[in-house]
């Protein structure tokens, strides 16, 4: 009975989880796409090979997140996508370009591969920018006016930088030699922007939203929350110091930047979640208000409870199969 009462909140948490996993997993895919060096074909192939076996499943987490919004909170789904009609269209075009370029480049007609690599990069950029922009608009509950728009644009840039950051970190983990050194350099630069962006958003958010300010700055919450930005800062500095040392002897700790970046994503996400729970649309609709019929949530809830652990298990299995440095992409 208690579970039935909490179903809307459970689905809200699930949706948040899907968004977080998407941000980390497709975040590194998109980051790799953003970083593609147009002056070096072999490195581009190497980079794309490193995300080859994963991108498709990674993108599915976005479908799940939007799916849960659609299934559990249809009213919020309509409201969000009405407000974000054009950004959503651009996001989809970006995702289409990125997704198909992957296969077209490998099978491309003579001389067209470079063109598809451009499309890959452009698609990744459009996707990252619109995702960030949409997040910015969403956080401010689709307020209009230049402050809100500016905030959304800043969020777009920040999210793109964060993706490039984790994408570079992924490459440091999955590649060797010259590409690894280049990736460390890229990741470091992107990391500064991402950190600056996260800081700016953390400061601006309570300034433009009284509710958020109230949640963060009231006693004694503020003492419990202080560790979040503190740990973020420490992580950013540590990763930066590590990346300066790449390549390390025996490649020791090559996984560290990626794991740290993922942790940073997690903390930023928790920060946002704390600011807005239990709202599906900040300040407008709570989970309970927007939820579908209980019978529907129960029916899909059973499926989630059975299937989600399975998904996590075989996703882990796939990562194990392709563990270690990525090799040349071969179709067999």
């Amino acid at each position: 009975m208690i579970i039935t009462e909490w179903l809307p909140e459970i689905f809200l948490v699930l949706m948040g989880l899907a968004v977080l996993i998407y941000a980390v997993l497709d975040g590194y895919d998109l980051g790799v796409g953003l970083l593609l060096p147009m002056d070096n074909e072999p490195q581009r192939s190497q980079m794309i090979a490193s995300i080859g076996p994963f991108w498709d499943a990674n993108e599915t987490w976005l479908v799940l997140a939007v799916g849960i919004l659609l299934i559990a909170f249809p009213e919020a789904h309509s409201l969000v996508l009405r407000e974000l009609y054009l950004p959503a269209a651009f996001l989809l075009i970006g995702l289409i370009l990125r997704g198909v370029s992957f296969d077209f480049r490998a099978k491309a007609v003579t001389g067209h591969r470079r063109l598809w690599d451009h499309a890959f990069k452009a698609g990744s950029l459009i996707t990252s920018l619109t995702l960030g922009y949409m997040l910015g608009r969403y956080v401010l509950a689709f307020q209009t006016g230049w402050v809100a728009q500016g905030f959304a644009v800043l969020s777009g840039i920040c999210v793109s930088a964060a993706f490039a950051y984790i994408g570079g970190a992924w490459l440091v983990m999955k590649s060797e030699g010259e590409l690894q050194i280049r990736a460390a350099y890229w990741s470091r630069r992107a990391g500064w922007f991402a950190a600056l962006g996260i800081a700016a958003i953390s400061v601006m958010n309570p300034l433009v939203s009284a509710d958020v300010a109230e949640r963060w700055l009231s006693m004694p919450a503020v003492f419990l929350l202080i560790p979040i930005p503190l740990v973020c800062l420490i992580l950013v500095v540590l990763v930066d110091q590590y990346l300066k040392q790449v390549p390390t002897r025996d490649d020791v700790g090559c996984w560290f930047p990626f794991v740290a970046a993922a942790l940073l994503f997690l903390l930023s996400f928790l920060g946002l979640a704390y600011s807005f729970f239990p709202y599906v649309v900040p300040g407008k609709l709570t989970a309970a208000e927007a939820a579908s019929a209980t019978a529907s949530l129960q029916f899909i809830g059973v499926g989630v409870a059975i299937v989600l652990p399975l998904i996590l298990a075989y996703t882990a299995f796939a990562y194990r199969v392709f563990w270690g440095k990525s090799t040349e992409l071969k179709y067999y």
Binding site: P53, A57, L70, S78, S296, V307, F322, K330
Partner: protein, 468 residues
């Protein structure tokens, strides 16, 4: 204001039609192609003959490309409900949501994850696990079809729900999923996919043979395509007929439009050709076989078919698209029957098909696409003016987003889809031409056709004959 809304409705309908038409092309290929790949891989496991692995490697690439296009256009679909048809989820979200959710949970993740292993993992996992991955991808694509067809069929023949304050609430999930038209539609679509993949395989393999490929792989693949098509097409005609009878029972206005029957009549003729005119509500230039439509639909030469005029008040679908779409689908089906049976006869009696037959097969490469699209247009336009039969009208579900925004997004989609479709077709035939030159696809990433041809010219014996 009214005309503005009408514009948004029309633009949104065109956009949805464009998106779903583009999208369905690729699942139609991949649902069945996945099972073909399982077959090729299992043949290789059993016989150990390398030719099956060569066939597999060529077609797994076609699969990967088609799958990627299906995935990206499918994501677009999942956003469309919210962006353009908010009324749909607001009214029937309690039903549609879980069905879509189960598709994501049971199908999308499984196919996407094991696709990675299937495409790139065969040197990292044991062979049986690679075969299993191929199998799981095939299961995933079919499960995906199961859930989405369940939802689509529910929109045609809704069941197992009650309306509370204008919102649909589930009563019986069994009745919702296995609604009246679902088993017929699912079977019809699965076989359509089988035929589409079979003619694609036969056509592209015949193209390789015509381009001078002397290897065993394209001949084996072409035979597999022809034989599977020959086996499936009679079943499809039978199932299609059952589906038609089911529609006649539940959506008589759709069948009336398909058959061009305006006035309720007994002993209705089967119209081979006519020009339906909605102004005069009659047909011009009728050519028909007397009594045959009644016989097919009621199994009685004098059976009654209710005409469109009976449905004028509540609205019936536009007649021309249904009337002609249906004839295109059936015509293509009969052509498939003739070609696949004749081809099988050649294979059986002579062990090969003549060149003119190979050319015909190349011409039929995408016949499955055309027939599938024609069929879907018939059934989906045939649901109009309803979005969910008897529950929700299409016009009630449309967005309030300004028409200009819909116009802009529609233009972008159309442009991107046109480019992608062109690139897809070009790439398939390019891959086929390249495979004529190479023993098998291996380091394909690094080699292009020009390079290969230069290499072949430099050392004429490089092009080894395949082990027989």
């Amino acid at each position: 204001m009214e005309s503005q809304l009408a514009d948004v409705l029309m633009l949104s309908r065109i956009q949805f039609a464009a998106n779903i038409s583009f999208h369905i092309l690729f699942p139609t290929i991949t649902i069945a192609l996945a099972w073909f790949l399982v077959y090729f891989k299992v043949r290789h496991e059993i016989s150990g003959h390398p030719v099956w692995m060569r066939i597999y490697r060529f077609w797994v690439k076609v699969f990967a490309l088609s799958f990627a296009l299906g995935v990206v256009s499918g994501i677009t679909m999942s956003f469309q409900f919210g962006t353009n048809w908010p009324g749909f989820m607001e009214t029937v979200g309690n039903i549609a949501g879980p069905l879509l959710g189960y598709e994501v949970l049971t199908a999308f993740f499984m196919e996407a994850t094991f696709l990675g292993i299937m495409l790139f993992g065969s040197q990292r996992v044991p062979s049986w696990l690679h075969t299993l991955s191929t199998f799981l991808v095939a299961i995933g694509t079919s499960l995906s079809a199961f859930w989405i067809i369940a939802l689509n069929s529910w929109m045609h023949t809704p069941d197992g729900f009650e309306m509370i304050n204008g919102v649909a609430h589930p009563v019986s999930w069994w009745d919702i999923i296995f609604n009246a038209s679902m088993p017929y539609r699912l079977t019809h679509m699965m076989i359509a996919s089988g035929l589409t993949a079979a003619f694609l395989i036969a056509g592209l393999s015949a193209y390789r043979l015509l381009k001078g490929d002397t290897k065993l792989a394209p001949r084996k693949a072409m035979s597999a395509g022809i034989v599977v098509a020959a086996l499936l097409i009679p079943v499809q005609i039978f199932v299609g007929d059952l589906h038609g009878l089911n529609t006649f029972e539940h959506q008589p206005q759709k069948v009336a439009a398909m058959e061009g029957v305006w006035e309720t009549e007994r002993g209705a003729p089967l119209l081979l050709f006519a020009w339906p005119d909605e102004e005069t509500r009659s047909n011009a230039f009728e050519v028909g076989v007397p009594g045959l439509a009644s016989f097919i639909l009621t199994h009685d030469m004098n059976g009654e078919i209710r005409g469109l005029n009976e449905f004028e008040e509540e609205g019936h679908p536009p007649v021309k698209p249904l009337f002609f779409g249906f004839r295109i689908m059936v015509g293509l089906g009969l052509l498939m029957l003739a070609v696949s049976w004749l081809g099988s006869w050649f294979l059986w009696r002579r062990g090969a098909v003549p060149v003119w037959m190979q050319r015909t097969l190349v011409g039929m490469t995408f016949s499955g696409w055309l027939a599938t699209l024609a069929g879907w247009y018939v059934t989906e336009i045939g649901r109009q003016p309803w979005l969910v039969s008897g529950v929700l009208r299409t016009s009630e579900a449309v967005t309030t987003v300004p028409g200009a925004q819909v116009g802009l997004s529609l233009t972008m989609y159309l442009l991107v889809y046109a480019v992608l479709l062109f690139a897809y077709l070009q790439t398939l035939f390019y891959m086929a031409r390249k495979s004529v030159e190479v023993e098998e696809f291996e380091r394909e990433v690094d080699v292009d056709l020009d390079e290969l041809q230069a290499r072949a010219a430099a050392e004429p014996n490089a092009n080894h004959q395949e082990a027989r």
